[in-house]
Symmetry: C2
């Protein structure tokens, strides 16, 4: 029940999602949208090329929260996500979670969760709510 976090604390991680990652996630999520898997199809869309599943990119928040920030026994209560810009295959992204609110009565923390591409453009923005261990 000890909360050692304070408002402003943050963690970040960088990752490049590869073609292999996207195929694995398609199998796990059953999301076979050709926008992620078929270059010919994707070329004709507004994006011009295949994009990484938004939920795969957003899964980095789960990792940042679960690995150390919320503690090993932390419990993920909620997550909001706005997908503001596409992420392309083999493009490096940086996901960040940052504490914005800590409840006084319970060990429940709200964090801004956002992800930027290599040009610094926000590709996902939202908030997570976590019960810390």
């Amino acid at each position: 029940m000890m909360i050692k976090l304070k408002v402003g604390d943050k963690r970040s991680v960088k990752k490049i999602f590869t073609d292999s990652d996207v195929h694995e996630f398609s199998d796990l999520s059953l999301d076979k949208n050709p926008l992620h898997l078929d270059s010919s199809f994707a070329k004709e869309t507004v994006f011009g090329q295949r994009i990484v599943h938004g939920m795969l990119v957003a899964s980095l928040f789960s990792g940042l929260l679960g690995n150390d920030l919320a503690g090993k026994g932390g419990i993920y209560l909620g997550q909001s996500l706005n997908f503001t810009h596409p992420v392309f295959i083999d493009e490096e992204v940086t996901a960040t979670v940052q504490v914005i609110k800590i409840r006084e009565d319970k060990p429940i923390v709200t964090l801004r969760t956002f992800c930027v591409n290599s040009k610094g453009k926000i590709v996902i923005d939202g908030e997570a709510v976590v019960k810390v261990a």
Copy 2:
């Protein structure tokens, strides 16, 4: 730009997440929380056993939206998620997306997105916003 959807339309899918699925998702998301991977650790938590990553279960919504409901060219704009109950390894879950609002001025649809376990208990609840093709 043709929207053939109407309020109330829904799609569902069932899935059992296995130990192998959870390990693959841990690699993809970099989420190595022992709550998902280490039975001895998980046994001592409030859950009593290993649980599937909430974001992995939620990825089923991406599949339901991407495969047919929003159309192949559909664009995922947003998703909110409340993780209300744990999902255990090898437990069958049913994810459902259901249209609750269609904008009149733009092809933008809001859906309730929820997931129940085999006992009918809601494990994830939330909403998605999608631009349909």
